[in-house]
Every structure is written in C-alpha cells, then in structure tokens.
Amino acid sequence: MTKFLFTTFFLLIVCKNYYAQTDWVRWDAEVIPYKIGDTTDRFKANENRNSGAGIISFLRNTYGFFISDLDGDNCPFYPSCSNFFVQSVAEVGLIKGSLMFSDRFIRDMNLFKSKNHYPIHKSGKYFDPPINYTLVQEKIYYSSPGKVSD
C-alpha cells in the first residue's frame, strides 16, 4: 500500500513536468520560399495561332494516330520533332517554321548527338525548344549542356 502511494505520488510529480509548457525551446525559423514557381509551359506556343499551324497540327495528329502511337515514343528530343514542327509554325509561320523543322530533322539524324550539346529535360530527353531557333537573340533560353532543365 505504502509503495503504491509513493509510486503514485512520484508519478504525479513526474507527469506534471512532462506536460509542462516549455517556452525555452525556441521556434525554428521557417524556410519560406518567397518566389512562386512558374506553373505554365513558357516554351509552348499556342498551336491555333495561325492557319499554317492548324494544318501542320492536323498532319501531326494524323501521323501520331497512324504511326507514332503504334511505333512508340522514340524521338530523343523534347519537344518531339513533330511537336517541334507544329510549335515552330505557330511561333514564326509556315515557311520559317519549315526551315526550323528541317534543321531539327538533320540534328535528329546526327548519330553522335549527346548531352554535351543539349540540356536535359526532366523527362530525360534532350531539351531543344523551338524558341531557341527563331533567330531572335533576346528570345533564346540558354541552359548549360547536360544540366537538367525544366
């Protein structure tokens, strides 16, 4: 009985300390991200911007339905060559966009292309947006080769 009483008494004292307010534990400074991340795909042009893009978009969808979807996602670039064509035409028009696509197609044929030449997209592909080939210096989005770019 005595042991029980003393044990209870001791436990009560200990419990009080356990649940006491501890003001001397300082609050940690929270790391606040002040910048809001960019949630839009800033490289993607509006595919309905001009009629040329509409035509190429239709051809791309047809190619996608009959060939690409069956063949698989094989293009090593992001955006893929077909999407690059559509986005180029939407960005700069049919003639200039076709030249950009032609250049991209040759670069795609290069068997020795590597991450020493292109930044890497988060999908693991070579990042090569059409905005870098419009011949407008100010629009170029440069990212170091081999570096993972968003």
């Binding site: 009985m1 005595t2 009483l5 008494f9 300082r26 030249l99 250049d103 292309k113 870098n132 210096q137």
Partner: protein, 295 residues
C-alpha cells in the same frame, strides 16, 4: 495499531495529493502576470530574434509595428536591411533613403541604398545615384566605386577605359579582373551571317564553324546523298523521283543554312551565359568586395 497506521498513510497521501494540486495551481501560467506580447518592446525583442534567425520577412513585420511607437535609427536600418535581404530592393532603397540625414548610420544607409539598386540589376539608376553627391557615401567610396565598375561587366553598356577600371580593384585580384574585362570587351562570338554563308557554300560548313562538327557532317551527308539520288534518277529518266529528291535536298539544304545562323546565335548565347555566370560566381564568392556592417 495497524489500522491506525493505514489511516495515517491515507491521510498523508491525501495531504500530499492536495498539496500537489495546489502547487500546480500556484505555478500555473496566470494571465495577470503574463508579459504583454504585443507591446513595442516585446515586438522589438521578437523582431531581433527573428532577424538573428534570418527570418527577415517576419522580422520586418515586427519592426514595422515597433516603429509605429518609437523612432530608432538602428531599427529603421534593420527594417531596411530586412527588405534588402529578401530581395525587395525598391522597398529597401526607400527605407535606406529615410536615414540619409541626421542619423549615425547615414553613410551605411547610403551604401545600402546604392547596393539595393545594384542588386536589383537596375544599373542605370545605380550609376545615376553613384554620380549624385547626395547619394554617395564618402566613407564607402571605394566599395561603391568597385560596384560601379562591376556593373559594366553585368550589362550591355560600353566598358570604361582600362585606366579607370583596373585601379578600382585590389592588386591581388587584378589578373582575374583583367581577364573578365577582355572577355567582355572581345567576346568570342561567332557571326550568324558568316555561318549561313559557309553553309550556303558547302552544306554543314557553317555548323562546323560554330563548333557543331557532327551536325555539320550529318547535313553534308544528307544533302549530298539526296543530291546524288536526284542526279542519278534524272540520269535514268525517273523524273518524278528526281524531282522528289531535288525537293527534299533543297529543303534540307535551306534548313541547314537557316540552322547554321541559329546555331551561331545559340553559341553566342552560351558565351554570354557562361561569362555572366563566371562573373557573378567570382564576385559573389568575394561578396562584391563589400564590408560587413556591424550595427
């Protein structure tokens, strides 16, 4: 006797128990003795604590409340520093400006004001404020002069003469500064027009000029093969295939000429990017030769 002892222990336990309950009440937090957490002094203490913890956004809120009741130059300087640290440079500059006159931290706030414009990358305003005597800190003249010359490395303005540029920096750093100066003055750019003309003369040559050797060789092979196929089909009177390969060859030839100019521009963007990155890393590592202000 045994009964007496058991009653005694029970009584003792009850006493201790009630004493314990009373004790907890005695030492409990009581609102009457509570510190007023919203008093200016408490806000100042909390603000200082947040400032030391580098939680500058919340520290600025506490300082703002404190400054409604009291005027203190050090706290106003800290308030401005909070904005400077979190990258709100315009607000920092505005608050530093309020300390220009009749303050012990006048020189430091002039330095802070100039720094705010510099790190905002508003180099035109920065240079204007450096040239303005009212905004120029005499005590930190060499530091601000250095920032003035560094700003020319970071934007597209015409570089000042070497006789004015180099003496602003310490002798131990002169070699690196000299390299940056000449990299900026004579960048190793490739001319997009030259690249396009070279690719016009021989497909792929413009790409090789830009450094994309394998791309250049690929385009030479592709256009060469298509040209051969076109000629061969015309020779054998396969006119449709001849025109088809001619069209494809012309398409890739034109694309290569265009692509060579674009590749030269990308190359130049890379040169500029790497230069800016190297300059920023170099000066950031040395804190832009700025002093650490104790206040």
């Amino acid at each position: 006797m045994k009964k007496f002892f058991s009653q005694f222990y029970l009584l003792l336990f009850c006493n201790y128990f009630f004493l314990f309950l009373l004790q907890t009440n005695l030492f409990a937090q009581s609102s009457s003795n509570e510190l007023n957490l919203f008093s200016p002094q408490s806000r100042l203490q909390f603000g200082n604590s947040l400032f030391n913890d580098k939680d500058y956004l919340r520290a600025s809120n506490e300082y703002r409340e404190y400054l409604k009741y009291a005027d203190n130059d050090t706290i106003r300087f800290r308030f401005a520093t909070c904005f400077y640290k979190i990258g709100r440079f315009q607000e920092a500059a505005d608050n530093f400006k309020g300390l220009f006159n009749n303050s012990n931290l006048s020189e430091e706030s002039r330095l802070g004001y100039n720094q705010s414009f510099f790190f905002k990358y508003d180099f035109q305003s920065f240079r204007n404020s450096v040239k303005n005597e009212i905004y120029f800190p005499a005590k930190y003249s060499s530091e601000v002069n250095r920032l003035f010359y560094i700003s020319f490395l970071l934007d597209n303005s015409v570089l000042p003469d070497t006789s004015a540029f180099f003496p602003a920096f310490p002798d131990s750093n002169k070699n690196e500064i000299r390299q940056f100066y000449f990299r900026k003055k004579f960048p190793e750019y490739k001319n997009p027009t030259t690249a396009a003309i070279l690719s016009g003369l021989l497909p792929g040559l413009g790409k090789i000029y830009v450094g994309e050797t394998t791309d250049g060789l690929t385009s030479l092979l592709v256009t060469g093969a298509l040209a051969f196929l076109a000629v061969d089909n015309f020779k054998h009177n396969h006119n449709f295939r001849g025109w088809l390969f001619t069209g494809l060859g012309a398409f890739f030839y034109a694309g290569n000429v265009y692509g060579s100019a674009a590749a030269a521009q990308n190359f130049n963007a890379g040169v500029k990017f790497n230069f800016d990155k190297d300059v920023k890393l170099y000066f950031e590592k040395r804190n832009y030769f700025l002093p650490e202000i104790k206040f």
